[in-house]
């Protein structure tokens, strides 16, 4: 489904976005994510396709706001039944789709956050929607519930051939979708697969949104068959790129913290990587999940994420001197001007 919407109030927006399968709408707070969802639901004035000008009652959409918005004095089944257009359909059959038929007679206050969300989802499905709109569906869930919510959305969207637009600020949720659109100042600043957006963010601000914490400047030194060479400080890094910027231009580049690698003294590096080796001192190590977030000082103040099995092997400690390698294909050049 193709969305083309223009909104004037409360925010000026002009959004063109294809929604296929699970499509994440990623954006910082105040970027207008929720505004766009409400406009698509017909709850805010807007112009554009689909559903142009129809009141909310006549739009075939399933809208799930952040708080799920169940009617508190109606049971799960009664909430679902609100959306049924004929008496022949059964509310319980929709609760079955979200594996919640056994809680049909419970009131919302007797349900957990994840269960409320599934009731809201069943209610939205009972509307027989052409498009699902979900506002931060995982923000109130713990990690396990978040994964099972995304699993359920994935299978529902696939089995019912139902496109879903998922508003989120969580890169993890975006990474599990089929497509990602990034909303910035009222327009879609980038659209693509999660891999594209996460590995090749179009702008610095998108990069920060998707977890690029190492962003620096460099000057294009020369362009060769094996990539370009970038002067950074006194180093010349090789970078693989399909769109080399002109020689002598000043560019921003970055590398994801999980793609900074420690050079192991017992394993010599292949010669083509020698250029991209950099000495560093471990300034700080912080636990991050089961792994570590390592802050490096040296020529470049890099941030590095290492999983536990790597730390088990390397036994890194604060104040230790190490070498890191920035692999040419992991370095991303930003096309936006400096």
């Amino acid at each position: 489904m193709e969305i083309a919407y223009r909104i004037e109030q409360p925010l000026k927006m002009d959004v063109q976005l294809p929604v296929n399968g699970l499509t994440a709408l990623l954006g910082g707070s105040g970027s207008g994510k929720t505004t766009l969802l409400k406009a698509l639901a017909g709850l805010l004035p807007a112009t554009g396709q689909p559903f142009a000008g129809l009141p909310p009652e006549r739009r075939q959409i399933g809208y799930l706001p952040q708080g799920y918005a169940l009617v508190p004095h109606l049971t799960a089944a009664e909430n679902v039944a609100l959306a049924l257009s004929s008496k022949d359909q059964s509310a319980v059959s929709y609760l079955e789709k979200v594996n919640l038929a056994h809680l049909a007679n419970k009131l919302p206050k007797e349900l957990s956050g994840g269960q409320k969300q599934r009731v809201a989802l069943a209610r939205a499905l009972a509307r027989e929607p052409k498009l699902l709109l979900l506002d931060e569906p995982t923000s109130a869930l713990d990690a396990t519930a978040r994964d099972s919510a995304l699993d359920l959305l994935e299978s529902l969207s696939r089995n019912l051939d139902l496109p879903a637009l998922i508003v989120t600020h969580d890169p993890y949720v975006a990474s599990r979708c089929n497509f990602v659109g990034v909303l910035e100042t009222g327009v879609i600043a980038q659209f693509g697969s999660p891999e594209e957006v996460f590995q090749r963010p179009a702008t610095i601000s998108i990069a920060k949104m998707v977890g690029f914490s190492n962003i620096f400047e460099g000057i294009v030194d020369k362009i060769t068959d094996v990539g370009i060479f970038l002067t950074v400080d006194k180093y010349k890094f090789r970078v693989e790129t399909t769109e080399p910027p002109p020689t002598g231009s000043r560019v921003k580049w970055g590398i994801r913290p999980e793609e900074v690698m420690v050079v192991r003294s017992d394993r010599p590096l292949p010669p083509e990587l020698q250029n991209n080796v950099l000495p560093a001192k471990i300034a700080r190590m912080k636990k991050r999940g089961t792994g570590y977030c390592v802050k490096l000082s040296g020529p470049l103040p890099l941030l590095m994420l290492i999983p536990r099995h790597v730390q088990d092997r390397l036994q890194l400690e604060e104040a230790a001197q190490i070498n890191v390698v920035l692999k040419p294909r992991y370095i991303h050049l930003f096309s936006s001007p400096v």
Binding site: A41, G42, E57, Y63, V71, L74, L82, P108, A140
Partner: protein
């Protein structure tokens, strides 16, 4: 005494009925719609809370007198049941309105929005979502207005005077008894009032309690 209490009940019932019919839409409007002059309108509607009943009664008497501005257009309601009815409605409106608005404020506007996106029309929305959600609040507000009207004195005396069977309600009846130094009869009537008030306020409180547990917390 029976005549006075019957009249009081009739007045309180009719007043509560008008407040329920007119006050609920008014409260809905004041809660969910923003318009110019809303605060001014609310201030005027809440004025009887602080105004001495005699002041309100005095103005109504002037307005409803045969040669008053309203009396001249046919509303010659001074010293009549219709007059004390109107006075009671105005005087109890702030109580009912505040309770109704409180009830509507508990309704999450986002839930109403989502219910619209489910294809639920206005009539079904009121019948299945809004009214079942707020009825204890509406009932407790109406009972409060009923109790308040039963106990009213100043407005009724000024607008209605003291006509047995027409405007002499129970509170004025007690005043008469005390003035006539008939303390025994006054005791009996006053005791009935205490019992009635206790029962009504108790009902209001338990409705509020029931309402709270029935809504529970829908917050995530």
């Amino acid at each position: 005494m029976i005549q006075a209490f019957t009249l009081s009940f009739k007045l309180a019932t009719l007043t509560a009925a008008v407040l329920l019919l007119a006050g609920v839409p008014l409260a809905y409007w004041l809660t969910f719609y923003n318009f110019r002059g809303r605060y001014l309108l609310e201030t005027i509607l809440l004025l009887p809370l602080t105004l001495p009943p005699t002041v309100l009664g005095f103005y109504l008497l002037v307005l409803l007198a045969p040669d008053g501005p309203l009396g001249r257009v046919g509303l010659q309601w001074a010293f009549s049941f219709a007059g004390i009815w109107l006075g009671s409605v105005i005087f109890s409106l702030p109580f009912a309105l505040t309770a109704y608005k409180e009830a509507f404020r508990a309704v999450d506007p986002e839930v109403l929005e989502v219910v619209r996106t489910l294809g639920v029309g206005r009539w079904k929305r009121w019948r299945q979502v809004i009214l079942p959600w707020i009825w204890p609040g509406l009932l407790s507000g109406t009972l409060l207005a009923f109790a308040h009207t039963l106990g009213e004195f100043g407005v009724v005396l000024l607008v209605g005077g003291n006509i047995p069977g027409e405007t002499r309600v129970a509170s004025i009846y007690i005043f008469d008894l005390v003035q006539a130094l008939d303390f025994q009869a006054a005791h009996r009537a006053a005791a009935i009032f205490v019992a009635l008030s206790l029962a009504l306020i108790y009902a209001v409180r338990s409705l509020e309690e029931q309402w709270r547990s029935h809504i529970g917390s829908n917050n995530h």
